[in-house]
Assembly symmetry: C2
Homo-oligomer: 398 residues x 2
């Protein structure tokens, strides 16, 4: 099961050397500076995990592999379940095991809580965690709607804690390399249109029992899950400029409880940019970003989870044209291969831990991360409203 590339926490020299395998523009290095900022003498940031969700297994490994983080505690509603989770997910012998979420939040040694709970529980537990002065790594969708999320943000701000959502692909070095391409006015130019897809064919058990199809747990269904990634990637491509309008597409599919299990939408900006996306639990896996600018084209087909951990690809084309008889392309698109020094979720943990460490030394929490979480949620809300209004255009809030 576990990828053979990384089975133990690397030492600093390992990834200080490795991170030079890819190059990024200077404006992007803020997300890549953890090897330099960290020091082996400093105490790792202590993570506690609320609940034993399937995704928490992946995050446990990510924390274990992060040089500046400590896989410190896990809580479940029963101590037996928490113990079983810790023992099967590589928790160190010193790890704390809690039989309730409250008791984990009361542990003063814990710096960060990772919250992979069902979305309907985010408001309660994130606000409580903030009040307990825990920095928060919050799974997506961050809330049931932007209003709820604003309450979480307020709690984090008033308690001086960092908030970041768990969108792992943001932290892959490929993402920085693609951003460099998209930001280059000579290579990509002005964004004209972007199409994103995240679909997977869930099995019957998922479609019946997963929290993501339950109206009381994850009422946003496929839109809040797969759609989160589509919308985030569109906003990322558009440099986080919010669209003015969202129009859901007829053909959305609902389960017996009225939860969306497949839908699509188009997003529209004032300058004429158009984005479209499709998210679904009913189609074979696809994870595309196709961004077309006035001068360039970007293709990536595994943006959420790269095909493999050790490297990731994308295709970039600039000023593509035809040969003289229009029988071929000149130039052809180029394939870019980006080596990954660490799993993307470990990079996320490292980045988050660095922010927490800086706050411990007196810095303010970084507003970038909750800002893009909120924008993503605002677009989700608009698409959901458009679906509910029979696919009418809906203004995106701000």
């Amino acid at each position: 099961g576990t990828n053979p590339f990384w089975t133990t926490k690397p030492n600093y020299s390992f990834f200080t050397n490795k991170h030079t395998l890819f190059t990024v523009s200077s404006s992007l290095t803020h997300s890549l500076t953890f090897p330099q900022m960290a020091s082996t003498e400093e105490t790792p940031i202590r993570f506690g995990i609320l609940g034993c969700a399937e995704i928490a297994r992946k995050l446990s490994r990510a924390i274990a592999l992060a040089p500046n983080a400590d896989l410190y505690a896990v809580a479940s509603r029963t101590i037996e379940k928490a113990k079983a989770f810790a023992s099967s997910n590589g928790f160190p012998s010193h790890a704390k095991i809690y039989g309730s979420y409250d008791s984990l939040l009361d542990d003063p040694e814990i710096d960060v809580v990772y919250i992979p709970l069902p979305t309907s529980l985010h408001l309660h537990w994130a606000v409580l965690a903030a009040k307990k002065k825990k920095h928060i790594l919050l799974e997506k969708p961050v809330a049931l709607n932007a209003s709820e999320f604003d309450t979480i943000v307020e709690a984090c701000e008033s308690n001086g804690v960092q908030l970041m959502d768990g969108t792992m692909w943001m932290h892959h070095p490929r993402t920085a390399a693609m951003r460099e391409f998209l930001s280059d006015s000579n290579r990509f130019g002005q964004l004209k249109t972007v199409h994103t897809i995240f679909t997977f064919a869930a099995d019957p058990d998922f479609l019946k029992n997963d929290i993501r199809v339950k109206p009381d747990l994850d009422a946003l269904g496929a839109l809040g899950d797969a759609g989160w990634y589509c919308i985030r990637s569109i906003l990322w491509t558009a440099n986080y400029e919010l669209p003015k309008k969202a129009v859901a597409m007829p053909g959305a599919v609902f389960n017996d409880h009225g939860v969306i299990i497949a839908c699509g939408a188009s997003l529209h900006w004032e300058d004429g940019k158009v984005a479209t996306f499709q998210c679904s639990f009913l189609s074979n896996m696809a994870m595309d970003i196709t961004a077309v600018g006035s001068k360039g084209t970007l293709h990536v087909n595994d943006f959420v989870i790269p095909y493999q951990e050790h490297e990731a690809h994308f295709s970039a084309a600039t000023e593509s044209w035809f040969n003289e008889l229009v029988t071929g392309w000149v130039p052809k698109p180029s394939k870019h291969i980006i080596a990954a020094d660490l799993p993307q979720e470990t990079r996320m943990v490292c980045e988050f831990s660095n922010l927490v460490r800086a706050i411990k030394k007196g810095s303010k929490p970084e507003k970038h991360w909750p800002t893009i979480s909120r924008k993503t949620q605002l677009v989700i809300d608009a698409v959901k409203a458009s679906v509910d209004k029979g696919f009418e255009p809906v203004e995106v809030g701000n």
Copy 2:
């Protein structure tokens, strides 16, 4: 300029051998049988070209390379222009040069006319050609609307001549290989969603002077040109089942004369299938088909004009899923490389010539080709109507 792969007409053994480089399902072999059907003893089918459009250069080469076709005649509105075209495009010494379209149509030796004229002239010249008993290879868009096209079809049917549009990629062996994948219920399953793009960044001269931006010549603009390919590829993916509804997307761009130079739309079927497309003269080149089924995913990024002539690629994935910790894909998509025995436009000429030869021997014209032309035009008409109605949903005609 000319691709070095093919500079002279191949003999039959050349491509009888070569066509076994790819395999297709038995249902598709009708488009691949020309090496067997043809015989070196038979007279090649004689092509005449109406006008000296840029695209006619490519077709001249295609006809010259086709073993069962003869690059027989060209007409322009002045004989000087026709002479210059013939001499710079490899016409044989016996070729006929005409100073008017009418005189070419009056040549009883000509079997086929290729009509690359501006769309507004298609109705007149295609109907006249049919009356002169010429088989017709008609550039896209086939007409300004489906009603006009129906008049052309009636003229062809009443005169017993074959009609086919000039959508070259239909004839590439990759297209047959992709169809085989899409038709496989185990590998692709049921089509759920498809997104297609054809964009290119036209230069200022094109945007000012090309026939495709002139309201009196090609009033459908980018929708009739690049959009034709998008819509055809969507219909092809959907096995030519017409959608019920078309909804153009806000953000369409018009030139000063009101001609569409960029637009997008979504298409909707009764079973919930959704297609989206973007076509534009204002974005860097992109030519994507992304089709997602219940079991499989297809990606092709150069469907209109392959990157190079001698081979073409596509990516196919079946029952893609995650590894245990959701850190990679199992299985990964597979890349398929299809060798091309001849340029796709030469295959089109060969296929058309075979149909003409069969008609000369008593067969009826093949209705498949005008049927899919008409369906493509019907969807274009619906998208255009939706644009004109301010992006309201429009029922697709039938």
